[in-house]
């Protein structure tokens, strides 16, 4: 008696409820999915008519829009390089060395990283950047994100390295490798999946963030796309909304692509900690 009638309707109801919630989540995004391909600029939800790719062409012809994407890329890549390399070294040290006070340092960093949020620390971050003479530079955004994302990146990666048997490096050293050789020949390739995860995680974070570049950058030539989009739609005199939708879609693509990449490469569950 596997399929009794009440059980069947129960399953139907479950499916219907799940589909309904899914639809509710989809609704606010629907316009955003259709508008970029619509020839007529309107906020109403319609099937694109006439269907066009002209909006994308127009966006790529706008030097400010392209510059902003380029700025996002510079800031995200710069931050990722810093976070990736510093977190890898630090996480390796936390996992493999026996430096005294390791546990205490870990605990304090974890505590501070969850206490000092961007929205609580915007004043001192602004003051530090301005005291360092870095106001309105890419470096300001890169360094601030690197500092803010590092603790979490370090812990994700340290847990990953802890789960890798020490016998990899041990066997290399017994075979005659120096610690440096063991690190580069054996450890680094083995922990690469973990590094990929934190690289993707920090890229998505920096690429999508608004507040830090919003307070640290002034000039149009340094604005990342996040700030550019906000200033487009929040300023008076509504812009051509379909152009902005097309631009937002382009801006979202790297995030979507990276998300698909990670869930394809490491499975769905691994993505649980990808955004903090």
């Amino acid at each position: 008696m596997k399929f009794t009638l009440p059980a069947f309707f129960g399953r139907m109801a479950f499916s219907a409820l799940a589909a309904l919630i899914g639809a509710a989540f989809a609704l606010p995004l629907l316009w955003f999915l259709f508008a970029p391909f619509n020839g007529r600029a309107e906020l109403g939800l319609t099937i694109p008519d006439p269907f066009t790719l002209n909006n994308f062409v127009t966006v790529f012809g706008n030097s400010f829009a392209v510059q902003a994407l380029w700025n996002s890329l510079i800031q995200a890549v710069g931050g990722v390089i810093l976070v990736g390399s510093a977190a890898t070294l630090a996480a390796y040290a936390l996992s493999r060395s026996s430096i005294p006070g390791k546990g205490a340092v870990t605990y304090i960093l974890l505590l501070f990283s969850s206490v000092v949020s961007g929205s609580a620390a915007m004043v001192p971050i602004f003051l530090i950047i301005s005291a360092a003479g870095l106001m309105d530079t890419h470096l300001a955004v890169i360094l601030t994100f690197a500092g803010g994302l590092l603790p979490t990146a370090m812990f994700i990666l340290r847990d990953f390295i802890d789960s890798i048997p020490k016998s990899y490096e041990e066997s290399a050293m017994v075979a005659g490798a120096s610690p440096v050789q063991a690190f580069f020949d054996v450890a680094l390739p083995v922990i690469r999946p973990g590094i990929v995860v934190i690289v993707v995680w920090s890229f998505v974070n920096i690429w999508g963030s608004f507040l830090i570049p919003f307070i640290l950058l002034r000039s149009d030539s340094n604005m990342p796309a996040a700030v550019a989009i906000y200033s487009f739609y929040s300023e008076a005199g509504t812009p051509v909304v379909t152009l902005l939708a097309a631009y937002s879609l382009i801006y979202s693509l790297p995030v979507i692509a990276l998300y698909l990449f990670v869930s394809w490469k490491f499975g769905f569950r691994f993505f649980g900690g990808i955004k903090a």
Binding site: G22, P28, A90, G147
Partner: protein, 313 residues
């Protein structure tokens, strides 16, 4: 055997062998240490210092701020205006309501419901639902802000279009009930995390537990209440603390409402931004930051003590 043993390099003496010597370990930790010290630990202490000064963005006190003692805190907690709109007390209460409604009730319950539903529904329903829930979570916040801005538009937005279609009048929700807009917005935005966390918690329960309950004739609700929830209690607590902290600190609603109209969605993070970067009162902004960090600290200590207990076990 053709190869020769290594004899050329000088032999290294180690006092206590580790895969990474203490000196190398210290060197490895240095870059991260400097970055975290400058951008995380130093701001924590500097914000405390600044909160006792009258530092401003421009003018005389920008360069030579004066020590004003507790003046900034007294201004924040001035009982005459504390609860007025646009003041700190109003913002703090608003944030508390926002956290309770959108995180503890909205995200957690919806996440739990979704995680439970997608355990049993057909694969394509599961995948479709998950796709949109997760899309709401991973898309950049500015894009989400813009999408909702269009969704809620008074004249042509998707929501009003649907309301009209079923015979209801249009509404300008961002003006009429802005608080509930950001509550729904934040629930929508963040439910994915709770769903994914609960989903992985549910799938860590051996299927035989549920099969045993099936054999005993338990209903879906009984299985949920008597087996699933007690077994994932730890995950629930973790989830509640994390989403509380994130929601408390979130700045994203600013992208939809700018904190308005007339301060009705001014969460503490947005209040902090306005005081510091629109009114240019850094000292007072710093005092807000200190209070936010103290609240964060309380949650973080609870969270970390839970994590420690788990490790000991």
């Amino acid at each position: 055997m053709t190869t020769q043993p290594i004899t050329t390099a000088p032999k290294r003496k180690v006092r206590n062998f580790a895969l990474l010597s203490n000196r190398a370990g210290a060197a490895f930790l240095t870059p991260a240490g400097i970055l975290v010290a400058v951008f995380v630990i130093f701001p924590f202490f500097w914000v405390i210092f600044v909160s006792f000064t009258n530092r401003t963005l421009l003018g005389r006190t920008a360069l030579n701020p004066e020590f004003v003692g507790l003046a900034n805190y007294l201004a924040l907690f001035d009982p005459n205006i504390f609860f007025q709109r646009g003041q700190f007390g109003f913002s703090l209460i608003l944030t508390t309501q926002f956290v309770i409604a959108s995180a503890l009730i909205g995200q957690a319950l919806l996440g739990l419901l979704l995680a439970w539903l997608i355990q049993t529904v057909p694969a394509w329903v599961k995948r479709l639902t998950e796709t949109f829930v997760i899309a709401a979570w991973i898309l950049p916040e500015v894009v989400i802000g813009f999408a909702w801005f269009a969704f809620l538009d008074r004249d042509a937005g998707t929501l009003n279009m649907m309301l009209n279609a079923i015979g209801l009048p249009s509404g300008d929700f961002l003006l009429e009930s802005p608080f509930w807009v950001i509550v729904v917005f934040n629930t929508w935005r963040g439910a994915a995390f709770s769903m994914m966390l609960f989903n992985s918690a549910f799938s860590s329960i051996p299927p035989s537990y549920f099969q045993a309950a099936d054999v005993a004739g338990a209903s879906s609700w009984q299985k949920f209440r008597d087996i699933a929830v007690p077994l994932i209690r730890g995950h629930i607590v973790t989830n509640l603390i994390l989403i509380t902290m994130w929601t408390f600190n979130t700045f994203t609603p600013f992208l939809l409402t700018n904190g308005g109209p007339s301060y009705r969605t001014e969460l503490v993070s947005i209040y902090n931004y306005r005081v510091a970067f629109q009114d240019f009162q850094f000292g007072k902004g710093a005092a807000v930051g200190v209070i936010m960090m103290l609240i964060n600290l309380a949650f973080a200590l609870v969270y970390l003590s839970l994590g420690r207990k788990k490790k000991v076990r």
